[in-house]
Symmetry: C2
Subunit: 295 residues, 2 copies
């Protein structure tokens, strides 16, 4: 994949990360104790913050990017980060490194990591249900309901379970790994993109289509990076899927076809945004970034 050189996009991504980190810093509790320290370590680590960026950009299509959007973005990041903490545990992927830093259970201990993950997930719903997230309680219930569906057994957790089961299976089809990834990664991407539509009570369809194509492209690109990049560059272990005998998009499609499919999906994601015109250019840049990124 060609290096991403979209300077405008990268500085917008950085600016969003700064805003969301500030909001998270406000929302995360901090009594100096071990649980709060672990929650903050997990949620304030130097990630790309792509999901919160998508919340802010999609909400920005319909109105100003205010505290309400930032709270939704922060809640989503809490869910994403809890899932990484639990995923990295010895009983799951047993990873020592995440974003170039020790994983939460290596920095603290396993019990603290389990509890910090649980507390981050719970905090996400507390943030969404609070009146500061929107003055209309119906909209708050829609946000809670949508995030719970995206994060739970029919979404992210369900995808993670299928992914675990695929390890012992060793002969997954393209349709099967597409289903796994749609749950594991796609469901939270979808929430990120439609949250702005929920906040503004407008049709979610174009943003849902964008998210589906973009999430799919993201996961294929992840598999390509896993083959072409290094642990030093990615800040986490590479080629783990191969070691575990798990099929990837690259295995099943071949490297050239995977690259071409990722580009095609990014283009389809952009097409889904047609009705928004130039206002959606940053979301289009995000779709291209997802397939062109180096980490």
């Amino acid at each position: 994949l060609a290096p991403s050189e979209d300077k405008n996009f990268l500085s917008a991504l950085d600016a969003a990360a700064v805003k969301v980190d500030k909001e998270l810093d406000n929302l995360l509790p901090n009594n100096g104790g071990r649980l709060h320290a672990a929650m903050r370590y997990a949620a304030l680590s130097p990630g790309k913050k792509l999901r919160p960026f998508l919340v802010l950009e999609s909400a920005g299509l319909f109105g100003e990017v205010n505290t309400q959007c930032l709270r939704v973005a922060a809640a989503l990041e809490c869910v994403h980060c809890y899932s990484l903490v639990h995923d990295d545990l010895p009983g799951m992927d047993n990873d020592d490194l995440r974003r170039g830093q020790p994983t939460t259970h290596r920095k603290f201990d396993v019990a603290t990591a389990i509890l910090a993950g649980d507390a981050l997930l719970t905090l996400a719903f507390e943030i969404l249900a609070h009146s500061a997230t929107h003055n209309d309680p119906f909209i708050r219930t829609q946000l809670v309901l949508h995030l719970a569906k995206a994060a739970g057994e029919a979404g992210m957790v369900g995808g993670q379970m299928l992914d675990m089961e695929a390890e012992s299976k060793n002969n997954s089809t393209l349709a099967e790994i597409t289903t796994i990834q749609r749950g594991k990664t796609g469901a939270l991407f979808e929430f990120a993109c439609v949250a702005g539509a929920i906040l503004n009570q407008v049709d979610q369809t174009p943003l849902r289509q964008y998210a589906e194509h973009m999430g799919h492209a993201f996961q294929i690109a992840d598999d390509i990076l896993d083959v072409e990049s290094t642990p030093q560059n990615l800040g986490k272990a590479t080629q783990k899927d191969k070691a575990k005998g798990k099929a990837t998009f690259v295995d099943l499609m071949g490297l050239a076809a995977a690259k071409s499919k990722a580009r095609e999906l990014a283009d389809q994601a952009c097409t889904s945004l047609q009705s928004f015109g130039a206002k959606a250019d940053m979301l289009r840049a995000a779709a291209q970034y997802v397939v062109n990124r180096q980490r």
Copy 2:
């Protein structure tokens, strides 16, 4: 403690458990896969279902016990059961037995138990946010907010973390273990008791006072049972606190004073319900049961 001989109470507790199990059976997903099987194993195990009982009884003070109350009771039981699944994990208490059956990670595996716990917690908020739980979205957001606070870092998870930290401390005071238990056990009891008031938009104060006294009595009685009962009777390991060097109410107060304090708290719980008259007799019986139970 004297054996509980309140037949009326015990049959009401059983009847509530049957209703709540039926509601949980409806609400828990079931595609035949491993994740759903583990969620159902954890949530439909033969527990006393005391917390759901408290939801139904306290809601019954203000109106009929309908599907709305049952959904709230089921959501609370999902949270309680997720916390048991995660508590029992090797990285936490490392227990093999719960309610006389293999713990979820022993029946399935650690990864499945982590994910099933995560999915149960997430499902609880999905249930509460759904319009079937109450037609007024404001009330649904209050339920989500209250349960999140009770379950999260300022409630149950926070208490569990303090409990873990107390293991290495070895010299907790009575005030400290009261704080630990108020989070670990008390916070969900409080939600159980005030949920009916939230559903009916009435003053939560008397039920909150009842819950505080009753939860405290429950935990002292737990420590007494841990000393006086057997693993066969309790369906779980006993005297673990001693082995870990954790202080209990019995250690710090002495057995006789602990029994007398538990009875005093049960009486105070009953007094808190004065304004409800005879309608609250079953909640009074619950407070007495909590200190008289044999397991």
